[in-house]
Symmetry: C2
Subunit: 199 residues, 2 copies
DNA sequence: CGGGATGCTAAACGAACGTTCAGCTCTCGG
DNA sequence: CCGAGAGCTGAACGTTCGTTTAGCATCCCG
């Protein structure tokens, strides 16, 4: 009914669950804790979502919906970075979902890889991306690198950020990352040669 | 006593816990499940480790010890990659520990970043690593990229591996990664410029 | 006005949890 | 021979878990 304001108890429960699931994991979160955070009874949680796993699925769908907020059901991986950089709870939830391999996380990862593969292919055709022998592996690796500061955000922030806002540190990491992807890290191909000779 | 063969019940319990913790998370694993996997009673688990959290700490210490198997208490991040590539349970355990920020995982990450920073500085002095304005951020980003296929191993393996042994896929990802770090990904600096102009 | 959804709660259920405890069976030094 | 200690177990403790049930308001539609 009043889905616009998104302040229904159902939405409050789902948001509270997202934070808890991200912070403590699904198994480490009790239905009662979520209910308390949302200021409702534990019974209402199950009334709305059927079961704890139903609540988890609803969180998955909601996150997927947030990420797909862009063009017509497809993941926009540029807006994604911004979305996740500021939203620590969402970031943690997604990191756990990726690790556990929840269906929604798998879908999201696959879609982003696919979009990246097409984007890189387009760049390769237009000349601003270097050619490769293994486009799929490159896209997967690129996306996993894109997600690395996301999943390891606690560690990156701890070593880079200190007490500063997270924005600073993610920008700092993004800059050096982009630099490595543009100019390279190694000045010669000694490691690449060494690797090729070993395998 | 017979610590050499490492087949005591205590070691069996610890190994079983490592697998379970990695697969289901600490909160999602019961002491009874670990005990069943190790073919002992639940009471023995607590007899040896005091509590469930004591068991978790023992796992942390054991993993840290395994990783530090190299030169005199310091992490060898080359051997680490091999160690983790083949050992899926250990990989999953470490991924969760990094995400949760357990003390052992924090220590390990910090040590690896520090070793990497010195290694890159040495390379920079010798000319086989390109210079940077932000050595710490580069080291952190490099290590997080190194760990990305580790933490996101389920996703990478799913898209790249199929049913093949994990060895293949990790080699495949490592090759394109090394290629990107040597030759770069982007042929010109349009993205780097775009990023610099925005921030 | 009246009755069936809808939103929500308190209380209780059985199961599973981490942990404790008394006691068993070996082994080994005196 | 025997008593102490280490390794180990079955049974039980109290707690918390996910879930169910019965019932209370509130609101909308006839």
């Amino acid at each position: 009914m009043r889905s616009a304001d998104d302040l229904t108890a159902r939405a409050r429960i789902r948001d509270a669950a997202l934070v808890r699931f991200g912070a403590d994991g699904v198994a480490g979160t009790s239905v009662r804790a979520v209910a308390a955070d949302a200021d409702v009874s534990a019974a209402l949680v199950l009334h709305h979502f059927g079961s704890k796993d139903g609540l988890r699925q609803a969180c998955d769908d909601h996150v997927l919906g947030l990420i797909r907020s862009g063009s017509a059901g497809e993941v926009e991986h540029e807006a994604l970075a911004e979305l996740l950089a500021e939203a620590t709870p969402l970031r943690r939830y997604l990191a756990r979902a990726l690790l556990d391999g929840s269906p929604a996380a798998n879908t999201m990862f696959s879609e982003i890889v696919d979009a990246t593969r097409r984007w890189l292919a387009e760049g390769e055709a237009q000349g601003w991306v270097k050619p490769t022998e293994d486009p799929l592996a490159r896209a997967v690796t690129y996306v996993s690198w894109l997600f690395a500061p996301l999943v390891l955000g606690e560690q990156v922030g701890r070593l880079l950020g200190g007490d500063v806002a997270e924005m600073r540190t993610s920008v700092r990491a993004a800059r050096v990352g982009l630099d490595m992807l543009t100019n390279g890290l190694f000045a010669d191909d000694r490691w690449l040669k060494a690797f090729s000779s070993v395998t």
